[in-house]
């Protein structure tokens, strides 16, 4: 019985198109990427419906982990350098030039001022292990006391960059008294407006905010 002859086709596929796509995507991701700043601790922020985007610059970030330890970070290398010089002068920390540069290039800092010199002179690996055990930046409910070092950081940050915006990124499990201390400190320096970093969640249906959000599209409930 003569059977139909299946024409043999080459198994070679033209890879050019695929290659093009791959590199196009690669270029996109390379350009769109902005590396996550290294975080000293893992923080799980709570969610809210607020969709205000965190500004790009002039941000001072106070990270609070679940245990209530505070880490301080600020953007802009030049401002960081100015800040540490200011802090060095006002608190007489006796930092060397190398240690100041280490701060300017580093990320978050969460050690008491007394340990800052040692922290800045250690290697990144050592700093990481110190981050795991550090008590965080000391803070207190009273404002102008030596035990409230967060206040010193805030003062230095505001003198070097008056336009700085204060953001609090706290873990959802951080207890309220710890967060309250930060808010009290900010209030002590007459800072009544600040941002809390949250995840975005959808607006529940039928609520006032939901109606507000959808009123523009003509869909009214």
């Amino acid at each position: 019985m003569p059977h139909a002859k299946i024409p043999r086709k080459s198994t070679n596929i033209d890879m050019t198109a695929m290659c093009d796509v791959a590199f196009l995507l690669l270029t996109f991701f390379m350009l769109a990427t902005k590396f996550k700043p290294e975080e000293p601790v893992v923080v799980k922020t709570p969610s809210s419906i607020s969709s205000i985007i965190l500004p790009d610059k002039d941000v001072m970030l106070l990270t609070v982990d679940a245990k209530g330890r505070i880490f301080f970070a600020i953007d802009n290398k030049l401002k960081r350098k100015e800040l540490i010089e200011d802090l060095n002068a006002s608190k007489d920390l006796k930092l060397t030039e190398a240690e100041k540069n280490s701060f300017a290039l580093g990320a978050s800092v969460g050690v008491p001022l007394g340990q800052l010199k040692q922290y800045l002179s250690s290697t990144p690996e050592q700093q990481k292990s110190m981050d795991a055990t550090t008590p965080g930046i000391p803070v207190d409910t009273a404002v102008n006391v030596p035990t409230n070092e967060l206040g010193d950081w805030i003062v230095s940050a505001r003198t070097t960059n008056p336009a700085v915006r204060i953001c609090i990124k706290a873990d959802g499990d951080a207890s309220y008294p710890n967060v309250s201390k930060i808010i009290k400190t900010l209030e002590g320096y007459k800072i009544f407006k600040f941002n809390l970093i949250t995840n975005l969640k959808s607006i529940p249906q039928g609520t006032a905010a939901y109606i507000e959000a959808n009123s523009g599209t003509g869909e009214k409930k």
Binding site: T33, S50, L196
Partner: protein, 197 residues
């Protein structure tokens, strides 16, 4: 595949005396390159942060040391709802501001659930204030006011959830206030009465 057609299929025929150069295929296997490309894409996809963090802006009330307690308590009792945040994400609330220590209001308990949670309480409060405005008991300027008092056992997420409820329910006036010892005692008493440990 990506290749230049070098085969002299239908082109000019070279003369018989011309030696043909050895033809090397210009075909390159692109598979490894594609592999590499996708590997890099995967890397960048995982490291990239496309979504920027969202923030919530809060304004704390301006604190002036010269302010007396009388000035602070200027809000009308009928528009106020006091919410106490307690441990295990429990929420206690009562109507008014409880300024009379001898007559403490009844504490009711709720949570952050979608149904029958604190949201319904706030919505009811807003409705009540609106009704009172219509009947003339309150002036048009009055607004439902929520006083948020987190106690020492509450967490940051409770506070954010509560502030979020303010945004969700469009409560214009709210404040975060320190909890008083009377209120803390009352929470304990309510917990004891309900057998909550």
């Amino acid at each position: 595949m990506a290749e230049l057609d070098t085969s002299s299929g239908g082109g000019h025929k070279k003369g018989p005396g011309v030696k043909k150069g050895k033809k090397l295929s210009t075909r390159i296997d692109l598979t490894p390159m594609v592999d590499l490309g996708f590997l890099l894409i995967t890397f960048f996809m995982f490291t990239t942060t496309l979504a920027k963090p969202k923030t919530m802006e809060i304004n704390m009330p301006y604190k002036d040391k010269n302010l007396t307690d009388e000035d602070k308590n200027k809000i009308k009792k009928s528009v106020a709802l006091t919410v106490l945040l307690s441990k295990n994400h429990r929420v206690y609330y009562y109507e008014g501001i409880a300024d009379d220590p001898d007559h403490q209001p009844e504490y009711k308990v709720t949570g952050f659930a979608q149904k029958n949670g604190i949201r319904d309480v706030i919505i009811n409060k807003k409705k009540m204030v609106d009704d009172m405005k219509r009947s003339g008991a309150l002036t048009a300027k009055d607004q439902a006011t929520v006083l948020i008092k987190p106690d020492t056992t509450s967490t940051y997420s409770d506070l954010v959830n509560m502030l979020d409820e303010m945004n969700i329910n469009d409560v214009k006036v709210y404040a975060i206030i320190d909890i008083s010892t009377i209120e803390q005692d009352n929470i304990k008493a309510t917990e004891a009465a309900n057998g909550i440990k």
